[in-house]
Amino acid sequence: MATQPIYLDYAATTPVDPRVAEKMAACLTLAGTFANPASQHAPGRAARALVEAARAQVAALVNASPQEIVFTSGATEADNLAIKGVAHFYKDRGHHIVTSRIEHKAVLDSCKQLEKEGFEVSWLKPDADGLIRPEAVEAALRKDTLLVSLMQANNEIGALTDIAAIGRMCKVHGVHFHVDAAQSAGKLPIDLKALPVDLMSFAAHKVYGPKGIGALYVRREPRVNLAPLIHGGGHEQGLRSGTLATHQIVGMGEAFRLAGETLPQEASRLTALRERLWAKLEAIGGLRNSHATACVPGILNVSFPGVEGESLLATCSELAVSSGSACNAADAEPSYVLRALGRDDQLAGASLRFSFGRYTTEAEVDRAAEVVTEQYRRLKALIPAA
């Protein structure tokens, strides 16, 4: 039987923690808490209680009030709701949005859709560190700007946006600020009572919860209004209709609770694993794309000079990692973020993103270093002298 690759792609998704799965399973069958949380009878109220407890757990991780948490089908839907919701609700006040070229597709495509509807979007470019600076955001603001939308942690290189500074600046200018925290929630401390952020997107599946559930934080003080995307019953304060999936919500709550319990220790452990791998890859000529310190703990992005990117990724098939390009057999597109760092097409294409998580061991990291070392040398040996 073929062994599974070593999984080093936690930034793409995570396995569900068994403790989370157990809580979820208790909400499924006849013997469990399966009723519709909107029903008025006892089983419905029991389901409702679990939903509200989970909502409080999600809120607690980010120091928000439970009433500020709206459950969605994931961070993609939360991004759509935040961006389109603000744009459509406040369209009589303005029609300009500021975001960046390096956002998740959910943000990029939502903004492109709004452009088709007549909104104007400013697409900020990252600086040479791959960061979107507060000064760049400020320079893009106009009198008719409704919203700034930026990710807190970049999914490719892990670089951290200074959302506190950008949030303060948005407040001064009276502009709503949305942050995609899919890669950062549960990995960095987030305090929404202190951070001047109006809207924040979360995904359960990045933090050992199930896929298919996320949330949008919607600030109440001062209140942020949104035009809902989905109608049909008025659930989640009218912002997101649809029968609440108790098992999914309970899963997300438990995942967020567990993440909060071990956040500082995990951050140190993952940082140590990251630096352990980096030391070995630096020794064979790798170039670091992720920032050494202003970075999410669990992401390491490295370019390998002199080899073709698709072959590099393919030859490391003992590892489950991502590449720095949206590369598959159909098309290859070097990463915008890596190009912004000054990497040429070859380096941007021949990059690997390693992302570590709860179940990553030192032995796995050491084996990953061996595999990359061996395969990088193998590919270099095939190449004609320049």
């Binding site: 073709e308 698709e310 990724l313 590449s323 590369c327 057999a329 190449i383 004609p384």
Partner: protein, 136 residues
Amino acid sequence: MTDIASDYSQLVLEHFRNPRNVGSFPAGTVGVLTGMAGNRRHGREVRFEIRVAVGRVAECRYQVYGDPATIALCSLLSERLRGLSVAEARTFGIVPLADELGLPAVKRAAALVLEDALGAAFKSYNSVSQLEPLRA
């Protein structure tokens, strides 16, 4: 994605993981034709060497920078040319090899780079009345 198994055939994977005949002939080897094509800045570069003896391809060597399709094509070509007469080798169709490998449409440009490399190698065959030993 690291699962190239979903993008490439088993034959490509076999030749990519275990490419045959990699390298170059030692300096001084008699009968070697060399052709280079492609540019690594554009993603593919091939140096293909063919050793001819008694009017036939005795063996091939190559060095390659490129994707798994390009590496697999080089490997397969290096096996298929062996034993062919110079006339047969000179006109060998590489596009059918791309078919045999089941390459997706977007990867078939690799065949053109190999055609150019082969063409360059046999061009040097025309211009010598006797094959010179390979220079270093």
